[in-house]
């Protein structure tokens, strides 16, 4: 019972935190300089990790799928199949999970450590609204950067797939890409990009919430970072499930 109460209590708190983001965090004056700095840290600095992972995913998915398609004589469908898998699901979700691990934990730990060492209070005393400066900027940056990272991840993943196809066969780069894009429609691309905004928002929101409400010293900071990763990863899957249902309503997947 107490666990259920705790869960409901925390869910209410997170919802209030989100409402505060829309009511306070989006009001002018805007912290443009800090948003750009956070976008650089969150977006640009995550790109190598996202890129390597996506490249490997594209490569492995192609190598693993090839024997089955060969068995059915459908080897020529390989670019289409891999393209749809990566763009619809694997690219956005893998990017979001990597960001939940990398960005969620770093935001949780950074804000948590600022909280327990009174840096957030110091900021408040020096005439800065810490919610706008620390929380709103990070949530905006994750919301904007996740779609960009996901699109790059898709492109790199498909390139990985192209290289994997060329291990056994010879396919030209334009032919491979035209086969991938011929099998895609707006119904694949729009929902897939749209859901990454929500993934980014969820990762930023949970990381900031956990860090901003951190307590009990260094142990609390560790716990904040850890629960930020766990909860935001779980939220990514829940949002993905909802996104699939909504996309199905509009595009009949």
């Amino acid at each position: 019972m107490s666990k259920l109460y705790q869960f409901l209590h925390e869910t209410t708190d997170v919802s209030r935190f989100a409402v505060r983001f829309f009511s306070d965090g989006l009001k002018p004056p805007y912290e443009t300089e800090e948003i750009i700095r956070q976008s650089y840290v969150i977006g640009y600095k995550s790109l190598p990790l996202v890129g390597i992972t996506s490249f490997i995913m594209g490569l492995v998915l192609t190598i693993q799928s090839r024997p089955t398609l060969v068995e059915f004589g459908a080897e020529s469908w390989l670019p289409s199949m891999v393209g749809i898998s990566i763009i619809r699901e694997i690219g956005p979700v893998i990017t979001a999970l990597i960001c939940a691990g990398k960005i969620g934990s770093s935001i949780g730990a950074e804000l948590g450590s600022m909280k327990v060492t009174e840096q957030i209070d110091a900021m408040e005393v020096s005439g800065t609204n810490p919610f706008k400066f620390l929380v709103a900027t990070r949530i905006i940056a994750t919301t904007l950067m996740l779609p960009i990272l996901a699109i790059m991840s898709d492109a790199i993943g498909i390139y990985g797939s192209y290289l994997a196809v060329n291990i056994k066969d010879t396919v030209s780069f334009p032919l491979f890409y035209s086969q991938v894009f011929n099998s895609l429609s707006f119904g694949d691309i729009i929902p897939s990009v749209a859901k990454t905004f929500f993934f980014g928002f969820a990762i930023g929101l949970i990381g900031c919430y956990k860090g901003y409400h951190s307590d009990k010293g260094t142990q609390g900071v560790g716990r904040s970072a850890n629960s930020a990763v766990v909860i935001s990863s779980l939220l990514v899957f829940i949002l993905d499930l909802i996104a699939v249902q909504i996309a199905d309503l509009f595009y009949e997947l």
Binding site: S113, M114, T117, E118, Q119, D121, A122, M123, E124, V125, S126, G127, T128, N129
Partner: protein, 261 residues
Amino acid sequence: MNYKAIDMALPTQEKTMNHRVPAVEIVDLKKSFEDNHVLKNFNLTIQPHENVAVLGKSGSGKSVLIKCIVGLIKPDAGQIRVFGQDVVHLERQELDEVRSRIGFLFQSNALYDSLTVRENLEFPMRRLRLKKSKEQVDQMVYEALSNVGLPNVQDLMPSSLSGGMKKRIGLARTLIMEPRIILYDEPTTGLDPITSKEIANLMNDVHQKYNTSSIIISHDMSCIKRTAQRIVVLNDGIDYLEGNYEELKGSKDKIVRAFFL
């Protein structure tokens, strides 16, 4: 000497005519955290250019008190006036203006880890959007650091500084805004006796040079003796007793005596 008794004995008209506006005036302050009634009916008046120490056991609400003054914690009831302005009911923008006149030295120093010493000092100026040229900012940073005896650490990160140096930088960061009131939260905690003495002397220098009023929260009796003109004992949520160091040292009260053992 019991200032509160003298203050209360004066008729209102005489007070208005003879007294300057107090730097800080706290009336019947109450603050509870669930069932824990930290401040019950706390009263305190601090005159301009006066240093007052608040003495109390751990968990007695000393830090809560100064956090209420600067608006970090909202009291449940009571009034807090800073230079005559009631800070409890101020809007954020007005509160920020009052805060620009208050310096706060945190127990943990609260230096921003990701910024250099120089950026730490510039941060409050940048945030309050003060119109200063780069040369003026450079000069102010240099002066604030020189006043705490560390003019050459501008490019260092806080992680590479010792505890005493961090405390000095924390003080420099509050001084750069030229505050009229400084709130010290355990300024010598965790420092060795020699560094504690240096910090206490520095607090006195700041008091003289910047003509500030201060509230000093501390258990360190030697620091209090050096810096405070008046001591208020906070016990069971109220202003239990007050006087200067010698008066309290000679007190027969068991609670007060415990601090001098």
